[in-house]
Symmetry: C2
């Protein structure tokens, strides 16, 4: 198989929300209190809501920048690629990158909508969250049918209300809701608490996947305040691994056999070891810990409930059958620093020697379609004009040049204090 013949759906990209997000979607009575973008004296644009100020973190929008400029300084909209916040430009960037469809996690509200949840006025919080979901589904995803997998934010502070939101967005065709790696670390009941049962039931009923993104626990893997930032970057998938173990052994999977989760940006190469560790833990300990999966092994239960996702993972591609070929989906991570846009198809092929077209198709688009009940072949689009080659032809001469910022505001970020970073983490 050649890169140009791949059909690619990315189950993990990001939208940098545009300042106009709430214009059409928030009820008039909440307009003044809704989140707003302001420009600070240093030229950076920030979101404000409920007394909080949320900068656009540099690493979250570096697509199209040279690596020397990666950093975590706040940025202005004028310094980031329009494709990060403008859906028309996004589609052009997707075409140029050969990407047929994309699921977009939020930026300023945090992956699980923590920012909105923090508002004491829960009516306001609910109005803002619903407006966000309506904007995402109707406007961001709705403008180009078949190109964006719609995704909703959860209501962390009220599981009954969250269940209603699952049913509301499902009725609009949305089959993905973000969730947190660990509600307990965010101050809510843990995965082991019946508090969440209404949500699990609604998600099961409606076929909505809970998409758990790396970094959504509110905790970074910080070993020490003086550790280099490379340690935290390396360890990020560890939190996702914790979430997988937490859910696997919980009552959730036992009581809700149709519930499904995606481990977004969690990587896949560690999964075979993890599955073996689950089975060995079960074998060695279940007689005294009381775990009971009937006639199944924990690794089998895992494959029934979890979609694993990778950006670039040569080990995972090689071990795909130890993971489960129906449990792996590719992701691009545009416009974050781990993304290989616009060369992702070529990068994937470089680590896919000997992988059959059947396996590649499952990984690059068929698993994503099935898990998220998503059909990109709409509005006359056929497989023939869904390939990397066809989309790039559509993109024409769309500019994907990597270029430095003109402002000179980017400086090397060597020596970042991890304690401060952890404290300021809003995702």
């Amino acid at each position: 198989m050649k890169a140009e013949d791949l059909i690619m759906i990315s189950v993990d990209d990001h939208v940098v929300e545009p300042p106009t997000l709430f214009d059409e979607h928030i009820p008039a009575k909440y307009r003044d209190a809704a989140p707003k973008v302001i420009t600070k004296k240093d030229g950076s644009d920030v979101w404000t809501f409920n007394g909080s100020i949320i900068p656009n973190i540099g690493l979250n929008a570096v697509a199209g920048r040279p690596k020397e400029e990666y950093g975590i300084e706040p940025t202005a909209f004028s310094e980031i690629r329009p494709g990060t916040y403008d859906i028309h430009e996004r589609i052009k960037d997707m075409n140029a990158g050969g990407i047929l469809a994309s699921m977009n996690f939020p930026s300023f509200p945090g992956f699980a909508g923590r920012l909105f949840a923090a508002a004491e006025d829960k009516d306001l919080a609910l109005a803002v969250l619903r407006a966000y979901n309506d904007w995402h589904i109707d406007e961001w995803a709705g403008t180009y049918p078949g190109r964006i997998i719609p995704m909703a934010l959860p209501i962390l502070w009220d599981a009954e209300e969250c269940a209603r939101e699952v049913r509301r967005v499902a009725a609009k065709g949305c089959r993905s809701m973000t969730f947190t790696e660990n509600p307990a670390t965010l101050g809510y009941p843990s995965f082991h608490n019946a508090y969440w049962d209404p949500l699990w039931k609604a998600a099961s009923d409606e076929g909505v996947v809970l998409s758990i993104h790396l970094g959504s626990s509110g905790q970074l893997s910080v070993t020490a305040p003086d550790a280099p930032i490379d340690v935290m970057i390396t360890l990020q998938p560890m939190n996702v691994c914790q979430a997988a173990a937490d859910l696997l052994w919980s009552r959730v999977l036992k009581n809700f056999p149709d519930i499904r989760f995606a481990l977004s940006e969690g990587g896949t190469g560690w999964i075979p070891y993890f599955l073996d560790r689950l089975d060995r833990t079960y074998d060695m300990h279940h007689l005294w810990t009381g775990q009971d999966f009937g006639d199944k092994l924990p690794s089998e239960v895992f494959r029934e409930h979890f979609l694993t996702c990778f950006i670039s993972d040569p080990v995972g591609v090689q071990l795909r059958h130890m993971i489960g070929i129906d449990n792996i989906a590719w992701e691009c991570d545009y416009p974050h620093s781990d993304s290989s846009w616009p060369n992702a198809p070529e990068e994937l092929m470089a680590v896919s020697e000997g992988v059959s077209a059947e396996d590649l198709n499952k990984i690059t688009y068929q698993n994503a379609m099935r898990w998220y009940s998503f059909d990109p072949f709409v509005a006359g689009r056929t497989k023939a004009d869904a390939t990397v080659g066809a989309l790039r032809a559509e993109a024409g001469d769309h500019d994907v040049t990597i270029r430095a910022t003109d402002t000179g505001r980017f400086e090397k970020a060597v020596g970042i204090d991890m304690g401060t970073l952890a404290k300021n983490a809003t995702a």
Copy 2:
């Protein structure tokens, strides 16, 4: 290769310290203050020192018990296998298990000697720690030459003193010192602080490996207070992974090119993914984070400095060449609950189909000999009488029956509060 032809050195077992430990080794002036075993009203034996009481945790000494009896209740010496605390019985158990030699981590002092470090009287702490090391090297390891890889405890509270202890025990032939996964979480300077330089220098000079055992950070991977204990058991190797990342990106490896670490009980199946993640993190981020490994990749640097270790890890065995065949050592974990004693040789062969004798020999004994500068072929022992088959013949009819305790004190431990467990963790 057949199981009976293997030569097996385990680089991770445990000693349950006998009550007589300090009798011959503590100076007279510290005899009254030295740690002592007392029997509590409930019949359990506990160590006492410096106002602390340390029970023998059940899971730490379950070898020879049915799995239904695994638990974390305190135990009495009369309820655990004599091989856990009596060197003569230990050698018989090793023979019956086909194990030529064994490295034994401590129990009641904690893997990195935290218990001793907590004493305000640092002269007492030093005397107790040295007595422990003398007992371990001269008595526990010294009684049967070539059977026990000697191992010393570190001095956490004074890196200069620790360096002196490295040189003192090295002069007695000891080439392994335990260390912690994370000194920062124990309240000491982190791996990134020059405080530890005297220790790294002494260990480099003397060829002493720092053996970092899973669980030695003082932190368990606890996701929520109400999480089932299976979650924590599954996630234990995650802390070791954090230690590996913390050290890999630190200045330690750059400034001390001869320093070596063992990731004890850390497992191996996750290493290929981890190495790829290190290299990708370096590729994507080093231009702004400032990391510099010269002409090497982080994965190459890892292989120069780290020994990885597994008990039973079919994934790791399969991926041995992605890990590094010279960087893997087998371990038995006697008498902990993860151990497969006395059937470890058969269990290893069951997951080693297609593995060459050359690879197996490296994993089962040659890597251990080289990393720990340890020679088991002493006192007339040849390779021919070092095999599993030869040792089992030596063991004769030594009883290895799995049997239940008579006391009935073991109950199912379902519903353990993980918050309490984490708080009480002494390792």
